[in-house]
């Protein structure tokens, strides 16, 4: 499933941003430009973080902002941005963030599968290390597509 969600145009590395909002918008923009979400989806993601706080920072350095299908998702998709410089999201434990993974769910069912795949991929610290040192989007894609092994327990 990840192959359909994370397309080459959805990945950007070494992006310079001003702050956490800028970071989310940079990642969301990739999906807008590729016709996967409406611009209001990006506003919705920023709104959720404003409202709920830095809940999106799920692990050290990794943020997974998202919003709901009805917030303007056209096609289920994932974007991945690696920041040139990490930024603070306000999460005392997991800040600063250098990896933003945006999940735009098409509906609540397919969302669960995509989330599980991303979670298992990011759970593997080797994958995260290689994400942080990847030289280009093609490498990231190969890593993500090659990295998923159903049923593999890594820890």
């Amino acid at each position: 499933m990840i192959e359909k969600y994370l397309m080459p145009g959805h990945i950007a590395l070494d992006v310079k941003v001003r702050d956490w909002e800028d970071a989310i918008r940079a990642a969301g923009r990739l999906l807008v430009n590729n016709g996967r979400v409406e611009p209001r989806f990006v506003d919705a993601m920023v709104g959720v973080v404003r409202q709920l706080g830095p809940y999106a920072v799920i692990a050290p350095g990794i943020a997974l902002p998202h919003a709901r299908p009805e917030d303007g998702v056209k096609e289920g998709s994932i974007a991945l941005v690696r920041l040139a410089e990490p930024v603070a999201f306000g999460n005392s434990v997991n800040d600063p963030v250098d990896l933003i993974v945006v999940l735009a769910p098409a509906d609540s069912t397919s969302h669960i599968g995509a989330l599980a795949e991303i979670a298992d991929f990011l759970r593997d610290e080797d994958n995260v290390r290689r994400l942080r040192s990847a030289g280009n989007a093609a490498e990231v894609l190969a890593l993500v597509r090659g990295g998923e092994t159903p049923g593999k327990e890594v820890d």
Partner: protein, 101 residues
């Protein structure tokens, strides 16, 4: 007969962090040797977690404090992807619920 224990994983929006915690909890329970039917793991929002009696509530740091002092014990999870962390935090509860003979 031991009753089924319920763990509620809390998120803010209904789509995100609760589900992530749930996935990690299920892996942690496997590691702790908990049999499939002994514990149910659900995802809820802050109000659900208060309303329905849970044996344990897990939440990320944003929501943990709001839930403290409610009817169920609350465990805060910092790294929602870390099976190690969740396993360590669940262990005392699992030991209490299912004491070894």
């Amino acid at each position: 007969m031991a009753d089924i224990k319920k763990i509620t994983c809390v998120c803010g929006m209904g789509l995100g962090s609760g589900l992530l915690i749930k996935m990690t909890v299920q892996k942690a329970l496997d590691r702790l040797g908990v049999k499939g039917m002994a514990v149910t793991v659900e995802v809820g929002d802050v109000s659900t977690a208060r309303a329905f009696g849970s044996d344990l509530v897990l939440a990320s740091p944003e929501f943990g404090p709001r839930l403290q002092g409610g009817p169920s014990p609350v465990v805060v999870v910092n790294n929602l992807l870390s099976v190690d962390e969740v396993q360590k935090k669940l262990e005392p509860y699992v030991k209490k619920w299912f004491p070894s003979p």
